[in-house]
Assembly symmetry: C2
Amino acid sequence: METLTSSQNPKIKRILSLRKKRERDQTNLFLIEGYRELLSAVDNGFSIKSLFVCPEFFLKTNEKALVDKIQKKTCDIYKLPEYLFEKISYRDRPDGLLAIAKQESLSLEKIKDLCKEGVYFVVAESIEKPGNLGTILRSSDAAGAAFLVVCDPCTDIFNPNVVRASVGTLFTVPVVVCDKNEFFSFCKKEKITICAATPAAKKIFTQTDLSGKIALCMGTEQYGLSDQFLQKADLLVKIPMMGKADSLNVASATTLMLYETLRQRQG
Amino acid sequence: METLTSSQNPKIKRILSLRKKRERDQTNLFLIEGYRELLSAVDNGFSIKSLFVCPEFFLKTNEKALVDKIQKKTCDIYKLPEYLFEKISYRDRPDGLLAIAKQESLSLEKIKDLCKEGVYFVVAESIEKPGNLGTILRSSDAAGAAFLVVCDPCTDIFNPNVVRASVGTLFTVPVVVCDKNEFFSFCKKEKITICAATPAAKKIFTQTDLSGKIALCMGTEQYGLSDQFLQKADLLVKIPMMGKADSLNVASATTLMLYETLRQRQG
């Protein structure tokens, strides 16, 4: 295990550069920080290229076993002193593990087999905030959604804040990134109901039949779904707004749609 | 309207110091940034002490009317150039409005009258992240909860990130900060059912009767509710976890509890 001590080391600079979207796009690499996140990535077959550790920060969960597991897969491992690890860390309280990994995402073609009877999943159109996208992944995992479709993204799914907010579910939930027209054709072919959540709807989500194959479509934080989505939708539903502010966080609204779909399947 | 140009001006330093909890506690003041947030604060009777504006950043919503309204209430108004406003702003894209306001919060005694038949509300125990507390306020407003109880807080409700994530609902939802024992006595006296959300519960939240006067208790991000809450609870419910990660964001989980309570009241 090589030790790095200088912030001028090209490997350190490489890590910092991967905080930028452009660099992630060009290299097809991204950053994973934290024990829980890294364990999830490894267990779900993501390829780790380099691992940076600072044992002084370990929380003594089971770091050694994880590091050994990663080392077996011919990945470079570097040891860093605390001051240098703090520099590369994205967190207030780093836990001493940060990796560079290869991006993986799927095409609609590849998730066709997951579209069985009763399949449900979220479609996130142009979500802006990485934290919201991460939380949507977390809720998709928890509610048992088959996958997540991200249409015309404003934030890439490998943004460090998506990884963080998803607490590892970026690696457990299959993610497809595509444009909306591809998605509409896919739904037609696979006979999937396009359900749009919009304040303009007449039907309340808990009083609407959400059975069958269903895509739960959610729009941007500020403007909601685009007109194209609203026009293509087979079903429009709204979440009741009983307060003064008439607004829910988009990840909260998505969680409601997911768990209502689950409730209707489980009783 | 006085113009400020120096970052060394004591008024500018005052603003920056109010980002710190200690200063907020000592002065009983806090910061409100943004048109939407400030409008909500003014409309709901919060007292604005000083207002700082940068007209170059105005989004031309209706800033002039709002500034006039605030000015009538004998508040000091200062004009800042862009470079200086960017320094005091908490946002990536400031909209030219930032105020210092007086903190207001309620006691359990004062919300007694809101505890009518069928009342429902969230109790947030020791939530750590300001963003989660803000999102819980937003969902409480949307789902029509009567108020929010914050027990033994780790983050104060006047943290700038709570204000931001609440998008103005900090001013529409009555908030009580108290310790848990006060809260337990209050529930006993007011005959309120204490419902605790915990993965250890046997009953699923959507299959449990949540009618009557009910307190929906949610615990910390990492450890959930304390043992004292679990022991005092009249009702334990869980949210089904169908995924690999077994975890939901606390604000998402709170939103589910709130809307299930509403669904059971509305059908």
